[in-house]
Symmetry: C2
Subunit: 156 residues, 2 copies
DNA sequence: TTGATAATGGAAACCATTTTCAATAAGAAG
DNA sequence: CTTCTTATTGAAAATGGTTTCCATTATCAA
């Protein structure tokens, strides 16, 4: 009965090898953490999470793997303005496709999925034309609205 | 004949004072640099540019002013992945409203203005509904497509 | 099982950004 | 114009997320 234990081995290994990389314990465990969360984890967040199970995985490796995943287009790296990068798995992520409202006051982000349908239609067309016109191989995208959240506005 | 000398005093002072801040020489000179460029300047870029004319303005002040401008919603802060933030004036910027294709290889960015009309329509509607639904005071937004540019793709 | 080499972890280095604090200057009041 | 309050500033030092180094280890094709 393949595929039990929560789809843990859902083919990440193949994905890595397909790109000429090796599948390792640290990489697998990082993918596990990313697949399960629905938060915006920083490198250190991921490191601590992985550390619970494999206490010998280093923070350096977490950074390296995240960079690799970003290059592979499997992960998006976000900057919400709080001084550390945050990462989200695209394929197979808990939250579906979504975007963010980012508060420039408290640096928190709110996910929204409104307009995703209209947006998808629009983005698909844009992606196609832009990649042709600028000879650009588009892997993914972000949309972020900046402003003040409820709480930060009244604090003003 | 008011307003000569290239619209230098195009009311930035009023903008600052209107928000309860003072207009100072460093702030004015930073606005001057931002108004004239059509590049994506980092804090240090701006510092060096300002330094040519006011050699006593400090890098710290540049950072502080950029933070202020971002909070005021006059400037957008970008992260193109090269380890330093980049800033663009919104109102009165040389390039009009536009977005970016960001290469995850060489970290360079390409501006595009295609689809801006359709996009504006879409974004206006989104902004209105999102700010109501999430009680969020939206100041501005970014859209970025990530991928590999022409050169970085063939290097692979 | 073996060998070539990709990948790793820990420590040190890096460096963009922030903090500190005494000195300065904007601008309201008179 | 002069005075006074205090927002603003510059230089230096501190901060801390991320990267670099390098000797050791583990992956996986043969
Ligand atoms: Mn998210
Ligand atoms: Mn731009
Ligand atoms: Zn907030
Ligand atoms: Zn490139």
């Amino acid at each position: 009965m393949p595929g039990r234990r929560g789809m843990r081995s859902s083919g990440w290994g193949g994905k890595f090898r397909g790109c000429g990389y090796r599948m390792t314990v640290p990489r697998q465990s990082i993918m596990d953490v990313l697949s399960v969360t629905n938060k915006h984890l920083s490198a250190e967040d991921i490191y601590m999470e992985v550390h619970k199970i494999y206490s010998n995985v280093g923070l350096t490796t977490v950074y390296r793997t995240l960079e690799l995943l970003t290059q592979m287009g499997l992960v998006v790296k976000f900057d919400f303005g709080d001084g550390r990068a945050r990462y989200e798995l695209i394929e197979g992520s808990k939250s579906g496709h979504h975007h963010h409202l980012v508060c420039t006051g408290c640096k928190r982000s709110i996910e929204y999925t409104d307009f995703i349908n209209e947006e998808t239609e629009f983005l698909e067309r844009a992606e196609k034309e832009l990649s042709k016109k600028y000879k650009f191989d588009i892997k993914n995208h972000i949309i972020q609205f900046y402003g003040l959240c409820d709480k930060c506005r009244e604090k003003k």
